[in-house]
């Protein structure tokens, strides 16, 4: 009963203040989008990236040519035959069909592997940052151990020993690339766990699980999202490296694999190597630019740097 006057007292000035800023109060997502839009390079990169993804989804059925089928004389250079705009590879397969089909595999593996590594990294980083003490010590030592293993060699070993299926390749990439996410998540948790709103939820009876996933994690997300976007890029690069070395599912085409299988002949027909490389390069470049844009949008404080 005695509480009532104080609440009305506090809300009184608020209603007065609402007059002006009520139009400006917008969803945080819209605000981030506004920030993102100001970075023109990031915006262009996002558009190109969306186009690449659309091409990966509907491209194969739209273009309709089987990337494994030998359709024309090998090493037909680009532009010579209008039916095969980008030319043919060492087995006479249509290079454009291969690149479109490769986009699907590269992007799916990139997304899935990034998801695996973000999942592992966030879990380990969150537990280390939240519980501190010996848990943190043990988990960070574990993380350091993974930083010592040469990433590509370790994935090569996993794929070589346990078979080159798509899930195994995804796992092999995810298991070696989570350390950066773990470090960032831990640092954010160490910072946020000391803030007052966390103490407040703890005082109101929130359990560890709720505090970690319901209170701290949502506030730690911005740098994790930026890092995750970059992870997709590095996972695609990583997959390209593995498939360049021949560690890939033989039943699918991926960008790295096109380069790897044509490598022997590249001094005579360099376009079979150059063109799929351009696809990887443009995709990664766009992802990096979008990552930069996300960084601007989600960490406005860092913008002055």
């Amino acid at each position: 009963m005695t509480d009532k006057p104080t609440t009305t007292d506090q809300s009184a000035p608020v209603t007065e203040l609402l007059d002006e800023p009520i139009e400006k109060a917008r969803h945080p997502f819209m605000e981030a989008w506004d920030m993102f839009r100001r970075n023109q390079a990031a915006l262009v990169a996002l558009i190109i990236l969306v186009l690449i993804i659309i091409a990966a989804i509907i491209g194969p059925s739209l273009y309709g040519r089987d990337p494994f089928e030998m359709v024309w004389a090998p090493f037909t250079p680009p532009g010579q035959n209008p039916d095969f705009i980008l030319g043919t590879d060492y087995l006479g397969r249509d290079l454009l069909a291969m690149i479109i089909s490769g986009a699907r595999v590269s992007i799916i593996i990139g997304l899935a592997a990034a998801f695996v590594s973000v999942f592992i990294g966030v879990t380990i980083g969150a537990l280390a940052g939240y519980y501190r003490g010996w848990v943190e010590e043990a988990l960070m030592r574990f993380t350091e151990f993974f930083q010592v293993l040469p990433t590509l060699l370790f994935s090569m070993v996993i794929v070589a020993l346990f078979g080159a299926s798509l899930p195994m390749i995804t796992f092999a990439i995810g298991i070696v690339s989570w350390t950066a996410v773990a470090r960032i998540t831990r640092a954010e948790f160490l910072r946020i766990r000391e803030l007052e709103y966390v103490t407040a939820s703890r005082a109101s009876g929130a359990r560890d699980f709720k505090l970690i996933f319901g209170v701290i994690l949502p506030n730690a997300l911005p740098p994790i999202i930026v890092q995750s976007a970059l992870m997709v890029g590095s996972a695609i690069l990583f997959e390209a490296g593995l498939s360049f070395l021949g560690l890939t599912d033989p039943n699918v085409v991926s960008w790295g694999q096109i380069i790897g299988s044509n490598r022997t002949y590249f001094l005579d027909a360099s376009f079979t190597v150059t063109l799929p490389g351009v696809a990887i390069f443009v995709t990664i470049l766009c992802i990096s630019l979008v990552g930069d844009g996300l960084n601007d949008a989600l960490n406005p404080k860092l913008r002055s740097r």
Binding site: P150, A240, F266, T274, I280
Partner: protein, 326 residues
Amino acid sequence: MNFLRVTITRMAYAALLLVAVLILNFTLMHLAPGDVADTIAQSAGGIDAEALEQIRREYGLDQPFIVQLGGYIGRVLQFDLGYSFFYSRPVTDLILDRLPATLLLVIAAQILALTVGVVFGVISARKPNGIFSHFVTLASLVGYSAPVFWTGLLMLVMFSLILPWFPVAGMRDVTIENGNIFIHTVDVARHLVLPMVTLASIFVALYSRLSRASMIEVLGSDYVRTAKAKGLKSNQVVYKHALKNAISPVITLAGLQLSAIVSGAVLVETVFSWPGLGTLAFQSIIARDTPTILGILFFSSLVVIVGNQVTDLVLRLVDPRVGSKK
């Protein structure tokens, strides 16, 4: 005294990491389908089940996991990493043959990347909005986004095919028979240029970005303003006073990148047929030569661990605060 104690603690920790790598190695070998007995059986063209059991007993493969693990660690400590049935040689010999080439490539690339990266970073930090600064930002984005094996192949097309400046593959010209040390050194250096530049290109981006940011921060600090107020020349302030402080985060990052550099070396070596651990890994993976693959994983982790120790030492020499803080 303190310096010594820190060094010993770090080395003990490094040894622990190494044992952890061994345990992982062995577990992988254990989990993988097929064992040594199967490999022998395969190379002998098939043996009956009883002989297979016999081999398993001889190699101790019927022992419990822990006993086998202990035996494995004991053998590795005696530099015995097993026998490669594909190359018909002990794995340790194979690896020691290839290790110098990888070390040469990795160290040369790291030094090149650090030098170019720091120089780029410092120059662009002095004029953060100048043309050169924008160029560095753009170049580092490009360097980061290009797959390293693709960069390598483009380099070959550019500088071996179109402009025949450098050799296409390998580390030595086999036609040079009785040259002196000088001729051989020049020969290896000529072969080294393209792989080194290719491998360095990924890391120049990272180092120049960080040293730019770090330098901008240091240049804004009070002691730099004091040094300038004393009337020192701008170059003297930047390269003598500021650089010393700005460089330690870059060295830390360089240490963290070691495992990535060793990984990149695998791809670069494959592209340029550089006779190092990377090409060995590539060949033994095609040949399904498990002992060699795991031996390479062990040795390259060793390279990273030793490299981390060296980085640590350099860091503590450059910045005395680092050791005493912990």
